[in-house]
């Protein structure tokens, strides 16, 4: 009996101890699991190449890897080309080919309207962002805008000896025939052209005729039409005197020694944003760490390094402008800086851009 009692007492002690451990584990383990799921070996971020990806790597990807140990792979497929692949993967309930898309907000808005974006409204660092981080024209945060950019009028100072061009009308001077450049679908130019043509921004999208009238005048100047790398090459080769382009391209050319400056003409300049979003269909763990990456991108330290490389204003208050860009019109920070910048809802843009692109091409290729 004594033996039995001993056994029983020992069993009881063991059982109590096990219960205690299990209870303690039960109270802490689930919360840990909820907070930090298993880490993937890598996450894949779609990015633009050249100085764009270098800036992202230095500002966000490398600090993220240092902090989490997760390798970051940059997929340089063009944003337009990855989009149908991501859409098809989500529609077929396959794992999307990328974890995060670094995308123009306009393109990302299409994905948001289609319902393929994860909700990002629970990111802790969102609390410290400015209104710029919130996409316009969609509910919640299917996309988080990470910076803004301006489609400036870049010019060769030697071609404008009396000072920067004040208006897009200055480009109609016959001496600039064949020496201007625009994006081949007119993106960045539609809205200033609407003003230059005597129209109002309220007329977008219902009455864009003034825009097309002014585009027709510009067409008579036989401009070159291209994409970002073309503009840099054309400025470098002395083929053009002025171009409507994203300020980062002009800054990149200037940093490479090209004699180039930029301005915002009196008609204004299109202001837009880029953002990050996560396609639906990833495992819970991958989704968690992808969100962590975007959260990292919204930290002040990451924004400062990343956007120094791009020369663009971020979404965290108190960032220091890169050398030479303080007070620059392409680096708006104060409300007054936005007076001549034109920002149109992403939803209006995506609903009408197909028609705008066709109209611009019809005029330019007519």
């Amino acid at each position: 009996m004594t033996f039995d009692k001993q056994i029983k007492r020992r069993d009881l002690l063991k059982a109590s101890a096990m219960l205690g451990i299990a209870g303690a584990a039960g109270s802490t383990a689930p919360s840990l699991l909820m907070a930090e799921p298993a880490k993937p070996k890598e996450i894949i971020i779609r990015a633009w190449g050249g100085p764009w990806v270098e800036a992202l790597k230095a500002g966000v990807s490398d600090p993220f890897t240092a902090k989490t140990g997760i390798r970051v792979r940059h997929d340089l497929t063009e944003d337009n080309e990855i989009q149908p692949k991501v859409w098809a993967a989500v529609a077929q309930k396959r794992t999307p080919p990328i974890h995060i898309n670094w995308d123009t907000t306009t393109n990302a808005t299409k994905s948001a309207l289609r319902g393929v974006c994860e909700d990002l409204s629970d990111l802790p660092n969102l609390k410290g962002t400015t209104d710029l981080a919130k996409p316009v024209g969609v509910d919640g945060y299917p996309i988080v805008n990470t910076y803004g950019y301006v489609y400036v009028l870049a010019y060769r100072p030697s071609a404008f000896p009396s000072g920067p061009p004040e208006s897009y009308h200055d480009l109609l001077d016959p001496k600039f025939k064949g020496r201007l450049a625009f994006y081949n679908d007119g993106i960045g130019f539609h809205f200033p052209a609407q003003v230059a043509g005597g129209g109002k921004l309220d007329g977008i999208p219902s009455n864009m005729q003034p825009c097309w009238d002014f585009v027709s005048k510009i067409k008579a100047q036989e401009p070159l039409l291209g994409e970002d790398p073309d503009f840099v090459a054309w400025f470098q080769n002395g083929e053009i005197d002025a171009a409507c382009t994203i300020s980062t391209n002009a800054l990149g050319a200037k940093r490479n020694g090209v004699d180039i400056a930029w301005t915002i003409p009196k008609e204004g300049a299109k202001f837009d944003t880029d953002g990050l979003w996560i396609p639906r269909g990833h495992s819970e763990g991958d989704l968690y760490w992808s969100k962590e990456y975007i959260n990292q991108a919204l930290s002040k330290e990451s924004q400062q390094i990343w956007l120094d490389g791009l020369g663009l204003p971020g979404v965290i208050p108190g960032l220091q402008p890169p050398t030479g860009l303080a007070g620059d019109p392409s680096y708006p920070t104060k409300p007054a800086d936005f007076d001549r910048l034109i920002r149109i809802s992403g939803k209006i843009q995506v609903e009408n851009e197909s028609e705008w692109f066709s109209k611009f091409k019809a005029i330019m290729q007519g």
Partner: protein, 314 residues
């Protein structure tokens, strides 16, 4: 009567080998079906193409709702109506057809004398030189070649540098319709020569000698003997150049500088720039229809040329 193994064509020997392998795997044999089984990989490949075409045809009948970026469940002809009504698309279609026709004519005009000299010359050096000149561009991709022309013909390019030496201001030779056609002719030229060469090689030299002995001048021999006999090769080369030019993407995109889109460029824009795969698919179907129609017209008017693969003309 079998003389020796090498007297059989290579293809027959290959088929015999395949049959032997098939018998090893399946000793009872497929009987009546065995030749058809050998066709199955090719049929499978063509089937995949047909499947893709079916998918494109289905997508072309669905319209995009830009408030949700989803496609309609129902079929409609809206995309086709739009393609035929929109002035920009109409101008792109006409530009492509006109461009393909001009490129075909110029390429054949240039390729004929080149091929003739290549197959008739008695100089081994000249023949080798012409062959190397012909094949070298094949090793350079179309996009790289187009960028090469940017370097050669650009405002800061080699040609303008040379013109500058004699005091001529830099000219803009790129980003216009002629530069796209020029790039296409240069790209299509080797294809045309390769299609023409067998046709010209098959014309015996004795026929030319006979024509001349009967009093025909060299020009008359060319016009009345060689051209008619080379017709099948000309048609084959023309069809290849026509269809490839009609569907080309890189030359209009790179040498056109965004101002000379062909249909393929418009399709790319719809698929990847505006995300309207339905409209892009309708343009793809139209391109197939236009290309097939042009080929059919050529078949009806002048026959299938070497593409008839030895079938006798009616």
């Amino acid at each position: 009567m079998r003389r020796n193994l090498s007297s059989y064509p290579l293809m027959w020997r290959l088929m015999d080998m395949l049959e032997a392998i098939f018998k090893k795997i399946w000793p009872k044999g497929g009987g009546f079906w065995s030749p058809y089984l050998m066709l199955s990989p090719a049929i499978l490949l063509v089937g995949l193409l047909v499947l893709g075409l079916g998918y494109i045809g289905d997508a072309s009948l669905r319209t995009l709702d830009t408030s949700t970026f989803l496609f309609s469940e129902e079929w409609s002809l809206t995309n086709y109506e739009r393609a035929l009504i929109e002035p920009f698309i109409r101008s792109v279609i006409w530009r492509s057809i006109l461009g393909a026709t001009i490129v075909t004519m110029i390429t054949l005009l240039l390729a004929f004398p080149y091929t003739y000299v290549m197959v008739r010359t008695r100089s081994a050096f000249l023949r080798k030189f012409l062959l190397i000149t012909l094949f070298l561009p094949f090793f350079i991709g179309q996009v790289v070649r187009a960028y090469g022309w940017l370097i050669i013909l650009g405002k800061q390019g080699i040609v303008n540098d040379i013109l500058g030496l004699v005091g001529i201001e830099p000219l803009r030779m790129l980003f216009n319709y002629p530069s796209v056609l020029f790039g296409l002719v240069q790209y299509m030229f080797p294809f045309a020569v390769l299609m023409l060469a067998p046709a010209l090689t098959a014309i015996p030299e004795e026929i030319e000698a006979a024509a001349e002995s009967l009093g025909a001048s060299w020009v008359e021999t060319m016009l009345h003997v060689i051209f008619p006999m080379a017709k099948s090769g000309m048609i084959g080369a023309g069809l290849v150049v026509l269809t490839l030019s009609l569907t080309d993407f890189a030359m209009p995109a790179i040498l056109g500088g965004g101002t000379q889109d062909f249909v393929a460029n418009a399709i790319y824009d719809q698929f990847f720039r505006t995300s309207d795969q339905g409209f892009g698919s309708s343009l793809a179907v139209l391109l197939i229809v236009i290309g097939s129609f042009l080929v059919w017209v050529v078949f009806v008017l002048v026959g299938a040329g070497t593409l008839a693969m030895g079938a006798k003309d009616k």
